[in-house]
Every structure is written in C-alpha cells, then in structure tokens.
C-alpha cells in the first residue's frame, strides 16, 4: 500500500514537473509572469466594466453583486484550468508529441501522472486568481472594502480550497476519460464543459435568474457548491441565490460528499476508458483533425 502511494506520488510529481515546463518554459520568466497575470486580470476586469456600464445606465451601483461576480470569476479559472490541463495533456501528448503510448507503457501510475499535468495548469490558474483578487483591492465600486484580507475567513478558505482539489481532479478525470477515446477535438471537451459550468455554476450571476428546472440542477452541481463555499470564506456572507439559505454545515457536508463522489466517478470512468482505449488502439491514434 505504501509503495503504491509512493509510486502514485512520484508519478504525480513527474506529471506536474512536465506540465509546468510545458506551461512555462516557452518564454523568459518575466514574459511568462506577465502573461500569467494579464490574461486572468483582463477577463475579470471585463466584468467590472460591465457593472460600470450597467450602473451608468440604471444609476444604481451594486457592489455586493460585483464582489460576488468578481470572486466567482477569479476562482472559476481553477475549475476550467485543471480539467482543461488534463484533457489537453491526453490529446497533445498523443497527437502532437506522439508520446502518450510511451508514458502509458512506462512504470508510472498513469492517473497520477495525468493528475500532475492537470495540477500544473491549476497552479498557473491559481496564481492568476490570487493576483486578480489582490488587484481587486485597488479597484473602486466598493470592492476594496469587500475583498479586504481582514474580512477573509482564512481557515475556511484553506479548507475549501483543499476540498476543491479532489473535486477538480474528479472532473478532470471524467473529461480525460472521454478525451482518451475521442479524436483530436476531444481537447475542446474541457473548454466546452468549462463553458457550460461557467453558466450553470453561477460563477458570475446568482442562480436565481435561471429558469426553475435549470436552477434546480445548477444548485447541486459540485462547482456551484465549491464556489459558494469559497465566496462565503472570502466575502464572509452567503451569496444571493438558492444556496443563500443553506447553513454552513450543510454546505460543507454537501461539498465534501460531492467532491468524494466526483473523484470516485472520475477514477472509475478513467479506468473503464483506459481499458477501452487499449483495446481500441487509441493510445497511438493520430486523427489529424
């Protein structure tokens, strides 16, 4: 058991190292740093200007909702990054670098290696998210007060981030399982599911605006629960929407259960997909489109 865990840890570290090299060594460190900071910041500032345009048109500023969207958007980058990192690793290593088959036949724990690749993308996104939240302290519209570090429940934040890791990895494994048996466009699966979850997890708007049935589904999605937990830790109050009335204990319990379930589902699906891919000769597939 211990040696299995050690092998998993080594594989994860190797995958992480390789993933980080691919993410970062294409440019000089200063250029990479600039790239890592500008992109997420621009994406979140877009929302700030939308709120400014709406405030100008309606004459009403809504700092509470802006903080809700600002934090949600900054943290949502992590959801997309880990799963996108894992699906891209499958397709890119298989079709572009032609090395997936060699990784699969090597003695690494394949799942560990793949999770490492996803976590490398996640780290880059986390840097962007932290930077974006810090930049929020410089912005007007009441954001500086609402995002103040003194208001943050740091213990809850760390705990929520820790609970999010198995959730993000589980989601990544589900998508990687699908990409393993898909053609080249499987790389877009992460992006596609990321877009769907961006809408359904209420990352930038309260879920109450969604139609009834969709709202019901969206409320129980693991990323929705995770974002709400993180928002409560940072903004120190529940976000508006159907989860507003949930007591903290219920939310934590639901998040823990959802993370565990998603990880178990992802792990199982990936095993099934791996068997299918080996039988179908998909590890050295080059689809060319």
């Amino acid at each position: 058991m211990r040696s299995t865990l050690a092998a998993f840890g080594r594989s994860l570290a190797q995958g992480f190292w390789l993933g980080w090299q691919i993410e970062s060594n294409w440019a000089r460190p200063w250029l990479f740093a600039l790239y890592t900071l500008i992109k997420p910041l621009a994406g979140t500032l877009l929302l700030v200007f939308m709120f400014a345009a709406a405030a100008h048109a309606t004459g009403v500023e809504q700092p509470g909702l802006l903080a809700f969207a600002f934090v949600g958007n900054a943290l949502y980058m992590l959801v997309g990054a880990v799963s996108q990192g894992m699906t891209t690793a499958i397709v890119q290593d298989r079709e572009s670098y032609g090395m997936l088959r060699y990784v699969r036949v090597s003695p690494v724990v394949f799942e560990g290696w793949l999770i490492g690749r996803g976590l490398a993308s996640g780290l880059k996104a986390a840097i962007g998210a932290v930077w974006t939240l810090a930049f929020g302290l410089l912005l007007p519209f009441g954001l500086a007060e609402l995002l103040s570090p003194t208001r943050i429940d740091w213990v809850a934040l760390v705990l929520a981030l820790a609970l999010g890791v198995p959730l993000l990895v589980g989601l990544g494994l589900v998508l990687a399982a699908a990409a393993l048996n898909m053609a080249r466009h499987g790389a877009f699966l992460g992006e596609g599911v990321g877009s769907a979850l961006y809408l359904l997890s209420g990352a930038i708007f309260p879920l109450a605006i969604l139609p009834g049935a969709l709202q019901g589904v969206a409320t129980f999605l693991p990323p929705t629960l995770w974002l709400e937990t993180l928002r409560r830790a940072i903004l120190h109050r529940p976000g508006p929407g159907p989860l507003e009335a949930w007591p903290a204990g219920t939310l934590w319990l639901a998040l823990a259960a959802a993370s565990a379930a998603l990880l178990a589902l992802g792990w199982w699906l990936f095993r099934v997909s791996d068997r299918r891919a080996r039988r179908g000769g998909r590890y050295d597939l080059t689809t060319g489109f």
Binding site: W26, A27, Y35, I38, K39, P40, A42, G43, L45, L46, L47, F49, M50, F51, A52, A53, A54, A55, H56, A57, T58, V60, Q62, L65, A69, S96, Y97, H185, F188, E191, G192, S195, A196, Y198, L199, A203, I204, F205, P206, I209, L210, G288, F289
Partner: protein, 270 residues
C-alpha cells in the same frame, strides 16, 4: 495558368476542407454553436441580474457574434501555420506553386463560413431567448461595415500568420494572450466609452473595437453611445484593411524567406 487564376483556385482549394469539414464532422457543429452560446448567455444574464437596459444585453449578443470572428482570426488564421507545421503540411504549402497569400485567403474564406455558423447561432439565441431586437437604420450600411470589419480583421490575421511562421510554442501563448485583453479593450460587452477617454482612444487602434462600435451605432442609434461618428469609423476600417493586407503581403514574403533560411518551416514541437 495565369497568376490570378492560380491564386483563386488555391484559395478555393484551401477553403474547401474548412467548409466540408464542418458538415462531415457533426461534432464540430456542436462545438461551433452550443459552446460559445453558453459563455455569451452567462454575460447576458449578468445584465439581466442588474436590471440593465435591453440594449446592453443586445451589446453582449452582438459582441459574442463578433468574438467568434476574432477567435477565428486568431486560431484559424494567425496560429494556423503553427498547426500546419506541426502536422507537416506547411512544407507542402511552401513547395506548392500557389502563393502563401492565396492559402491564407482560402483559410479566411473557409473560416468566415465556419464562423458565420457560430455567429448566426449566437444571434438566434439573442433574438429568440433574450428577446433582442435588431432594427438597423440601414441593412446595406450594416452589411458594408460588417464586410469592411472582416476585411480588416482577416488582414490582421494574415500578419499574425506570417509572424508565427518564425515562432514556436510561444505562438500558442501569444494567441491566447490576444483573447481576454482584446475583449476588454474592444468593449464587446459594453460601450467603449465606459473604458474612459485614454483607454478608449488606445482601443480605437483595434479594428474589432471600431467595427463593433460602428455596427452598434447602426443597430441601436443613440443607445450605442458611440465612440465617434460612423463615417470616421468606416474610414478607419478602410485604411486598416488596406494597410493590414499590404503589410501582410510584405511580412509574409519577408518572413517566409527568413524562415526558409533559418530552417524553421519544418521544425516541430518547439
């Protein structure tokens, strides 16, 4: 075969797989239509949550449709030679008797067709789900400005494509970097004036900013809070289109020569 005929035939030959590919691989259609709608819908719902006027929701829809073209310019024009080099096709293009400019023109034609599908899907959702009303002051002027915007955008894409002949993996990251910051500066989801005078003036250098602003003014009149009169924007777009296409032809020739000399046309995975 004379040079014009060769150019036209090569352009159509390159456009063909893009158009046919969309039909032969139906999953592309899902990727091209359903996925972009989701992100656009999220932004539209932000305005709905804020009880913003319908015009702002309409801006998001129009911005979403035009984003599709910008993404196509970046990924399917700018970065395309990077992918072609990775799949070993770039050498064949360079060896072929057709000019690279014709190959790029074909990519643009095929790309516009692919992207029209995406843009129409976004507009349809805007019309039927979000109740956006499009009542342009002149359909002719609207299509004219739209065509001019595409000409300038795809000219810019050709410049990117030539630059990326020299680049390796960094091309992918640069293309990535040209997404969100350009969305921000172009004011795709809000009037460009919201950015303030300094940023809005800088943003006017982007054909996407000027094109979207002109389209908005033609569609929504005063409510568009335009950056400058439509006539000026048309003139800017026309100058940009001519300038970008001329620059693209020059940079393509120059950088192709340099890429040949430095052996960069066949390097992969770098």
């Amino acid at each position: 075969m004379n040079r014009v005929a060769l150019f036209v035939r090569a352009a159509f030959a390159r456009a063909y797989p893009r158009i046919v590919g969309l039909i032969r691989e139906p999953t592309w259609m899902i990727q091209e239509t359903v996925l972009p709608i989701l992100a656009v819908a999220a932004y539209a719902l932000v305005y709905r949550t804020l009880h913003a006027p319908d015009e702002l929701v309409a801006f998001v829809i129009l911005g979403g449709a035009m984003t599709a073209f910008w993404l196509n310019v970046l990924w399917a024009m700018g970065a395309q030679f990077f992918w072609e080099r990775d799949s070993g096709l770039l050498e064949i293009y360079v060896l072929a008797p057709a000019p690279l400019m014709a190959i790029l023109a074909g990519m643009a034609l095929g790309g516009i067709f692919m992207t029209l599908v995406r843009a129409v899907a976004i507009l349809a959702v805007g019309l039927f789900v979000f109740g956006v009303r499009l009542e342009p002051s002149s359909w002719l002027a609207l299509f004219g400005v739209f065509a001019l915007t595409l000409l300038a955008l795809y000219g810019l894409g050709m410049i990117f494509a030539s630059a990326f002949l020299m680049w390796g993996r960094e091309a992918w990251h640069v293309v990535n970097l040209l997404q969100e910051p350009v969305y921000l500066l172009s004011g795709l989801n809000y009037p460009v004036r919201t950015l303030g005078t300094v940023l809005a003036t800088i943003a006017a250098a982007l054909p996407l900013t000027v094109g979207v602003d002109a389209l908005r003014q033609l569609l929504f009149g005063e409510a568009a809070v335009g950056l400058m009169p439509v006539g000026w924007e048309v003139a800017l777009l026309a100058v940009a289109a001519v300038l970008f296409l001329a620059l693209a032809a020059w940079s393509l020739a120059t950088l192709e020569r340099r890429a040949r000399a430095e052996g960069r046309l066949s390097t992969r995975n770098q």
